[in-house]
Symmetry: C2
Subunit: 441 residues, 2 copies
């Protein structure tokens, strides 16, 4: 099967957005336009086709029109100033996978791997088969056959240990210094760290798994999986709320995030390296702090909702600050209630973590929820794959987590189980691969 | 927050389908109609809104119209002749959870639990909060707040061990006799069996998790989780293929399933018990065989595609039988190639499992894929949560698995890791709870 055959018949590539980010607010996602009339008719039929299932196939969707919806057709761009998967809208499914270089693999092998990975990521993000094609040797697994790109993003990063192993110790950024130990850490070293990291996101679970297998295959002989985690968010269209997702505690999550329209968004989230400096290769990149944070849901769910709301400082139903307004209203941290005490409690999570209380420290949180069934202790093995993005973890994650760790109201319901930090270089320009400026300079 | 507030503003309940199944082909799913013009405009905007992400929020979907799409708005009916989740179209996310009654819990406690579970399932499937409401004591976790029903189904079943524990040994159906031991079984007893079973499916992962937590909460004090598994299928709209899904081997899966339009569909899949017989309570019910089947993907993916196709007897790209045609063309098991040998090999999985070669034995396969990361041996802990539905497992699953186990071409790439069989009674009539005819007769 050739690559072109894999294109769904009624998609045409429209308004591809070659730049992941640029100046301000672009999310680097383009929605492939369905063919005019047919597309519109299909969409209307899809939404208005009530009374479904009166006839047809068992365990199938008999009435779905033969067209991708937005979910399948949305395509994120591989090339750009920034890598995809940072400002890209949250996807329904995510995989995090860390690799360690095998003995004997050094800079040369790593460069070749990043070149292969970049080539694969670019093909898959466009909804095509992995390099090697659908058959023949090195063939594609076929798991994503006849699915659209489904907002697939693949994002690559380098861990602290990568640099010494590849003879690049002089390029190791100070931003990859080990994180301080926090009092509430219960970290599992086998699920922490890693030389290399890939974050995969897509709105279809099979498209995401397909990408994971393709990366693993390319890594064979050069790097082996150190740890791997699965996550999820809402399926687009499952909720009418346009902006933020909920986490497994039931809270609206993401409200306080810096917005790409903020004047200082780029400066906070992305590295703006000065040319000629040893970290020039990180220009346009960002640092990802990854924490697997277990939620102690059995305890949490016992709290009355009003108590849960005081723990965060926001209302559960709509995310509005306890100081009033709607989700987008700014928190009024000074507002006092009739009893003279602040309506957003002194230990509320959203107060303690706010830039206002942290000398402006901010990060872009872009998490996935995780749920791996029942843990050995009988509690749900579920929580947040907390991923935050910033120009410097020591001016983003670290000061904030230091304060939270010292005792915000949420901490008793959390357990940090794994931790890693990765340097995620800028996006590859056309013809380039991710990390080339590090590996070939 | 009251229950009505939780309804999305532009949904109206349309063409509710009160009967899950009835005579022939209904799938028991109704799609809530969006309000005429507004809905249509929203849908068109959604699909045609190309160039997405030019402005707006980081890590959000700025342009999504403030309306549920079909994914969120689709609602499966709780009441009906059959339980939902059997002929319901495959959902993107699934949870299987088995419970054992705690010491001291008997028939009375089990009846109360099934009554509570049924009440919760009905509310959640309609997109409302769990009993107890969104706040106050016993409040809803809020994880599904502002999401639509998202095709949620909850299906309940009884395992063999349930009957003696509840003093109902005289009602134990022969269909729940232990399965024979198959030569390739590598079953983990801790993830097999169970007194009670719930299957949850939804097109949104948070909606599914919400339902799982709600069931667990109702079970507290009466039953404890024995095992729990997570699965997934394609997100609707991610592919243009209307009928079948793919599995993690990349194959189109579900083609050979009996169709609700087949004359003998009901007789094969559902129990048509004679009144007055001890198993009258199973009228309209079905038996679910659940097998967690690991795929040995590292081995499988090494096979050339033509070899993979001979293992199944169908083409990978489009699911057509190797004897020719398209996916829906019947297999021609007698057709020989130029070399005189059958083009669908003698040990091909689809040949060996076909009703034609099994005295008509047939089952409705309705699986979820699973992927729990990397197993201890470094291989992907991934495969199929194989669930098949039939009026009698000894005339459906058992004879077919006996033959497959004796050596079809697929078996070397599979490992059956867990097994369970559940009696899934018919759907609850209005005012009734699932299992009432067993527990109160
Ligand atoms: C499972 C763990 C966590 C949960 C469930 C959680 C939940 C929340 C919620 C519900 C909010 C309010 C809504 C919003 O602005 O998104 C919030 C805000 C925030 N959280 Fe967390 N959080 C967690 C961990 C963390 C960690 C580890 C950090 C950083 C060290 C962090 C930093 C922030 C920041 C910066 C805000 C925004 C505050 C503002 O409004 O300016 N959170 N979190
Ligand atoms: C991970 C394990 C399995 C995989 C990957 C698998 C895959 C497939 C595929 C690709 C097909 C052809 C397309 C289709 O008709 O759906 C098929 C057909 C079928 N399989 Fe399986 N299968 C598995 C296990 C089983 C088991 C355990 C049984 C029953 C004991 C079974 C029974 C059937 C039946 C009845 C058919 C339809 C044959 C016909 O066309 O009439 N399969 N399977």
């Amino acid at each position: 099967m050739s690559k072109t055959e894999k294109q769904a018949p009624d998609r045409t590539a429209a308004t591809a957005r070659p730049d992941n980010g640029g100046g301000t607010a672009a999310t680097g996602v383009s929605r492939r336009r369905l063919l005019g009339t047919a597309g519109a008719a299909g969409a209307t039929g899809l939404v208005l086709g009530a009374g479904g299932g009166a006839a047809g196939y068992a365990a199938t969707r008999p009435e779905e029109p033969a067209a991708l919806t937005t979910i399948g057709a949305t395509e994120a761009m591989f090339h750009g100033k920034h890598q995809p998967g940072i400002t890209t809208p949250l996807q329904a499914r995510g995989h995090l996978v860390a690799f360690d270089l095998v003995a004997g693999a050094g800079r040369k092998e790593a460069a070749a791997l990043l070149r292969r990975w970049s080539a694969v990521a670019k093909e898959l993000m466009a909804g095509r088969a992995a390099a090697g094609g659908a058959d023949g040797p090195g063939h594609d697994t076929g798991i994503a056959l006849d699915a659209g790109p489904s907002s697939l993003t693949v994002t690559f990063g380098f861990g602290r240990t990568f640099f010494a192993r590849t003879g690049l110790a002089d390029r190791l950024p100070a931003a990859l210094d080990p994180l301080p130990v926090f009092s509430a850490d219960a970290l599992d070293a086998r699920r922490s760290g890693g030389d290399l990291w890939a974050q995969i996101g897509a709105d279809d679970a099979l498209v995401a798994f397909h990408a994971l297998r393709a990366l693993q295959k390319e890594a064979a002989g050069t790097a082996r999986v150190r740890w791997q985690m699965n996550g999820f968010n809402r399926t687009p269209g499952a909720t009418a709320r346009p902006m933020t997702t909920r986490n497994l505690m039931g809270q609206i999550d993401g409200t306080g995030n810096p917005k790409p329209t903020d004047e200082d968004f780029d400066r906070r989230v992305f590295v703006l390296a000065s040319p000629g400096k040893p970290q020039e290769w990180m220009e346009g990149g960002s640092y990802a702090v990854v924490r697997r944070i277990r939620m102690l849901l059995d305890d949490w769910e016992k709290l009355p909702v009003e108590h849960q709301e005081r723990v965060i400082g926001r209302r559960k139903a709509d995310g509005a600050p306890l100081s009033g307004g709607t989700e987008t209203t700014e928190m009024d941290l000074d507002k006092a209630g009739p009893d003279g005490r602040p309506v957003i409690p002194g230990n509320a999570h959203a107060r303690i973590s706010s830039p206002e209380k942290n000398g402006g420290a901010a990060m872009l949180r872009r998490p996935f929820s995780y749920h791996d069934g029942i843990a050995e202790d009988g509690a749900p093995d579920a929580g947040l794959l907390f991923i935050c993005w910033q120009a410097d973890p020591f001016r983003g994650f670290v000061p904030v987590q230091r304060k939270l760790d010292r005792g915000d109201a949420l901490s008793p319901f959390l357990r940090h189980e794994a931790s890693a930090v990765f340097a995620v270089p800028g996006g590859a320009a056309a013809g380039e691969y991710v990390g080339q400026r590090l590996l070939e300079s």
